[in-house]
């Protein structure tokens, strides 16, 4: 199938995924598998990132210069592509965190309204 139009995905979800990835990488460089594992672990199995979403997102972040990639050796001594946060990525992480805070606050307000 030819490339899915990008704006089909929910912009809200896409932004959240970017936030998760950037935050995970803020804790240290990691390859794609490791990122999905970590997200699952930290969220206690609540958030399981669909691999079909993870990698396009990672590559998009790389295209935009917020993460940088390097090939290295994994724990199991295999060749793997490691991503790390760039300076610009740190700033973007900050922006996304603030945005998320605003959005979640707004959603909470609406949900708790009587």
């Amino acid at each position: 199938m030819a490339g899915k139009p990008r704006n089909e995905k929910n912009d809200l979800l896409q932004g959240t995924l970017d936030l998760l990835i950037l935050k995970t990488l803020a804790l240290g460089p990691q390859h794609g598998w490791g990122i999905s594992l970590r997200i699952r672990q930290i969220s206690e199995d609540v958030l399981q990132v669909n691999q079909g979403s993870l990698y396009p997102a990672l590559h998009r972040l790389e295209e935009q210069g917020w993460v940088a990639a390097e090939w290295g050796l994994s724990d199991a001594n295999r060749q793997a592509k490691f991503y790390k946060l760039t300076r610009a990525g740190e700033k973007q992480l900050q922006r996304e965190t603030e945005a998320w805070a605003q959005v979640s606050l707004a959603v909470s307000k609406i949900v708790q309204a009587t």
Binding site: Q51, Y55, A57, H59, G65, R78, Q79
Partner: protein
């Protein structure tokens, strides 16, 4: 930064693909290992891991899309497919490319002319703008004067005004070319000329200050680049001599490549220092033959200045006023009422007046570009029709693509890419055509003209961009609509074989194909009628009827001054020539004249009745002053020599012909007589004119009234003429007119060597520039040649447009009819006769044609009215040509309806219905 990264991804596509694959593989393995750790079977684990990963290919695609690679993938695919498709249909491709090549070629050629004329930066690198410096008489509305050398020095000394000031004027000199003498244009300049323009010489040096000093007479010259090339193009040319007006001049330099002074198209053959001005200029160009350049009363120089960096002409106005005022105070007799002004440098002419290029060039540019654009439009419409016709057969292909999920945008993109490929191929061919044709044009003109043309036919970036722009434009016009149409196919309907496209009750559908046909017919008709207008105008002008017959008679053009003879000796030469010619038995009449109809030089004066001088701008000027009357000095029996008779009065006598001193008698033509004296007889009255607009008027008695003669090829009626005796307005370069008693053109031709010998016997130094029959003069005249070339071009334009239109009309009509195959089958199956069915189809086709041609006629009429001012004796509707065009186009449309319809009736009805 992002862009750079994108670029990097693009260039390393394969590596990126590979990396993505490895990354995915790693993930799957890790997932499998994890599952195994959790206790699932190894083989199963791997399989489930992969299944869990989802369609790996899909994810890879998404990733590649995220990296921005899919866009390029699609582009490459489309290009490959398009090229293959075009290769599979060589006939269609060839026709399409030809049509596009013609349309784009024409536009590129026109654009390159406009480029040289208007857009291209000048071929010099001066730091600071270069402007013309003019001396205006503030007491008159439109009067300017050239500068004297003293004025020039004074202005040059004021370094606060200009960063560099140079002076020049043109002259015609005779260059020895083997045993012939060629007359060429030379530019006489000051020492800092090349420096002012910032144009370095290819070899040698510029003129020195000593060589510049008026009267220095140091015989040196600088060749132009093309002249140098023609003489061998070797650097050892420095130091060699060349004979100008039979005098040896030393070559001290060669000008820069592409530099030809301030004019856009034309390069002088060579440059000379102002020091030789007095002896090298012949009568025509000399400002004032009685003084020398160094005299303070000699105003012959035209000035150009380089402004200081960052200063504009407007900013200098106050300083110029101050300078003019102080010059007036220092020398009131010469400089009272004079103001120094600046104006942009003219590209088309050199004169004392500020150039009025802009208006003329703007008009010409707009006209040319529009006509070319119309040709491109017709070509594009043509192509659109062809593509539409072809798209019919591709419906199923696109229906399938859309059915399995392709996006319409993708389909449109693919079709546009195919169109763009076609356009670019056509454009490349068109560029080649443009270059070739402009080079041909320049070469043809160069052979006939006394100057070199500096037209760089090779394209610069501007022309290439223009070509690509035209390609894109035509692609959009011819590609977009059919593409959107195809993309809008309803897949279900198309796959079912157009079941829904059944016959409707309406005969004539205003659908896209019919619209294109009508548009094409209309535009083609407009193009053809405009071409016909120009053609008619050009052929009328080229018929070249000056008022006397050009079929018989001999003209001899010579210029003794080019051979180094003095003015006195030149007069003798002319007298002896005339005497001996008149003595020959085969000569009926012989005379002399200073100009010849359709020649390249003429002298204009403002004529009035004798009395108080009237100037332009005076209250009486409109009624009593005949501006721009052509002044010709003629010999005795001039009109007789041309085969004409004076209407009243007499011709000049031989005594009057010989007499020197200012003219006392004059002959005026009918037009002038009528304007000055109305219906009263002009003979015996007195008229006057002021030489060069200043000084004491010269009063003459009218002794004869002559018939009108047309000098200017494009004038709608003869210009006013005043004739004075040859001796009183002697010019060294004149034309002898001989009326012979020969009975045939061949016999006349055979008299020419004898006449040349006659002149050589009088004085062997005299260069005979031309000796030919008037008939061959008419045929070889430069301007005539240009006009005829123009006429031929327009004919070609018109024929090409007509052909394109006919082919295009045929194509689309055939397509429209083929869509009705099913309907035809049904009708035949139901019992209609073949003839009746065909008639129905043809009749329906007529509507579109009639409407299209009708619109075209209306548009043609409108355009014709708008253009009437531009063409010589233009007629708003040129019946003959339009009729031909109408007939051709209508027949093409009818044929296109009839043939396919007839073919369709021959098919078995069942098959036709299934079609």
């Amino acid at each position: 930064m992002r862009f750079l990264r994108r670029l990097k991804t693009l260039l390393q596509r394969n590596r990126v693909d590979d990396e993505i694959r490895r990354e995915m593989a790693f993930h799957v393995e890790m997932e499998a290992a994890e599952r195994a750790r959790r206790g699932e079977q190894a083989g199963d684990a791997h399989r489930i891991a992969r299944a869990d990963f989802g369609a790996v290919a899909a994810v890879r695609e998404d990733v590649r899309d995220a990296r921005g690679l899919t866009f390029w993938d699609h582009l490459v695919q489309d290009v490959r497919f398009g090229v293959r498709l075009l290769g599979r249909q060589p006939g269609f491709t060839a026709v399409a490319v030809t049509i596009l090549a013609l349309g784009i070629g024409v536009n590129t050629a026109v654009f390159s002319i406009v480029n040289t004329l208007v857009l291209k930066p000048r071929p010099w690198h001066a730091e600071g703008e270069i402007v013309g410096v003019h001396s205006k008489d503030t007491s008159l509305p439109d009067s300017y004067r050239a500068f004297s050398y003293a004025d020039y020095l004074e202005l040059r000394g004021r370094t606060d005004l200009f960063s560099s000031l140079t002076a020049h004027n043109m002259a015609l000199v005779g260059v020895a070319d083997g045993d012939r003498t060629r007359r060429v244009i030379a530019d006489i300049v000051t020492a800092n000329y090349f420096d002012t323009f910032g144009s370095p010489l290819t070899a040698g040096r510029a003129f020195t200050i000593e060589e510049e000093r008026p009267g220095a007479e140091i015989p040196v010259t600088i060749l132009s680049y093309p002249a140098w090339q023609r003489m061998g193009g070797r650097t050892d040319i420095i130091g060699q001599t060349i004979r100008l007006n039979t005098r040896p001049f030393q070559i001290v330099g060669v000008a820069g490549r592409g530099f030809g002074g301030s004019l856009a198209f034309v390069t002088p053959e060579l440059w000379l220092p102002t020091g030789v001005y007095d002896t090298i200029t012949n009568d025509f160009f000399r400002g004032d033959p009685s003084t020398n350049l160094g005299d303070s009363s000699n105003y012959s120089l035209i000035l150009m200045a380089r402004l200081p960096v960052g200063r504009t002409a407007a900013a200098l106005e106050p300083a110029l006023e101050v300078a003019s005022a102080s010059m007036a105070k220092a020398n009131p007799a010469a400089n009272a009422h004079r103001l120094i002004t600046l104006a942009p440098l003219g590209r088309m002419s050199i004169s004392t007046k500020p150039s009025t290029d802009i208006a003329a060039i703007a008009g010409l540019t707009v006209a040319l570009l529009s006509m070319a654009a119309v040709v491109l439009l017709v070509a594009s419409f043509n192509l659109a029709n062809m593509l539409l016709a072809r798209s019919g057969s591709r419906r199923k292909e696109f229906a399938i693509r859309l059915a399995i999920g392709g996006s319409r945008g993708r389909v449109v993109r693919q079709l546009m890419t195919e169109g763009l490929i076609l356009a670019l191929v056509g454009g490349a061919a068109g560029l080649a055509i443009a270059i070739w044709s402009t080079q041909l044009l320049v070469a043809t003109l160069s052979r006939v003209a006394p100057v070199s043309f500096t037209f760089e036919a090779m394209p610069d970036w501007r022309i290439l961009s223009a070509m690509i722009g035209y390609c894109t434009l035509s692609t959009v016009v011819f590609g977009l609509l059919p593409a959107r149409r195809l993309a809008g196919t309803d897949p279900g309907l198309a796959l079912k074989g157009n079941a829904g496209e059944l016959v409707t009750g309406r005969r004539f559908r205003l659908g896209l194909p019919n619209l294109f046909v009508m548009g094409q017919l209309a535009l083609s008709l407009v193009l053809i009628s405009v071409a016909a207008l120009f053609l008619r105008g050009a052929t009328e002008a080229a018929k070249a009827d000056p008022g006397f017959s050009l079929d018989r008679g001999i003209m001899v053009q010579m210029d003794p001054s080019l051979g180094g003879l003095t003015a006195a000796r030149s007069r003798e030469v002319y007298q002896l020539a005339l005497d001996r010619l008149r003595a020959r038995p085969d000569v009926a009449a012989a005379s002399v004249a200073s100009i010849i109809p359709f020649g390249d030089l003429e002298d204009d004066v403002d004529m009035q009745r004798a009395g108080a001088p009237i100037r332009r701008g005076d209250a009486n000027a409109a009624t009593d002053l005949v501006e721009d009357s052509t002044l010709t000095s003629i010999g005795a029996g001039y009109f007789d020599a041309l085969g004409l008779t004076v209407r009243s009065g007499r011709e000049f006598t031989e005594d009057e012909e010989r007499a020197s001193g200012p003219p006392r008698v004059a002959i005026i033509d009918l037009g002038l007589a009528e304007r000055l004296f109305g219906t009263a007889s002009a003979v015996g009255r007195q008229v006057q004119y002021a030489p060069r607009g200043e000084g004491e008027p010269i009063v003459m008695t009218v002794v004869g009234v002559a018939p009108g003669i047309r000098q200017n090829m494009f004038a709608t009626s003869p210009e006013p003429h005043v004739y004075v005796p040859f001796g009183s307005a002697f010019v060294s370069g004149a034309i002898l007119h001989v009326r012979t008693r020969a009975t045939s053109a061949a016999a006349e031709q055979s008299m020419l060597p004898g006449i040349r010998q006659l002149i050589a016997d009088i004085d062997a130094r005299v260069p005979v520039l031309e000796a030919q029959t008037l008939a061959s003069y008419r045929d070889r005249n430069l301007l005539l040649g240009v006009v005829r070339a123009g006429a031929a071009t327009f004919t070609v334009f018109g024929v090409v447009a007509l052909l394109m239109a006919a082919v295009g009309v045929y194509g689309v009509k055939a397509y429209v009819v083929s869509r009705r195959t099913r309907e035809i089958g049904i009708r035949v199956a139901l019992g209609a006769t073949a003839r009746r069915v065909v008639w129905i189809i043809v009749r329906d086709g007529l509507t579109a044609s009639v409407v299209g041609l009708g619109v075209g006629l209306v548009l043609s009429a409108l355009v014709g009215i708008a253009m009437r001012s531009l063409t010589y004796q233009g007629r708003a509707a040129d019946a003959a040509v339009l009729t031909v065009a109408l007939v051709v186009l209508t027949s093409s449309a009818l044929l296109a309806s009839w043939l396919p319809a007839r073919r369709a009736t021959k098919i078995e009805p069942l098959r036709a219905i299934r079609e």
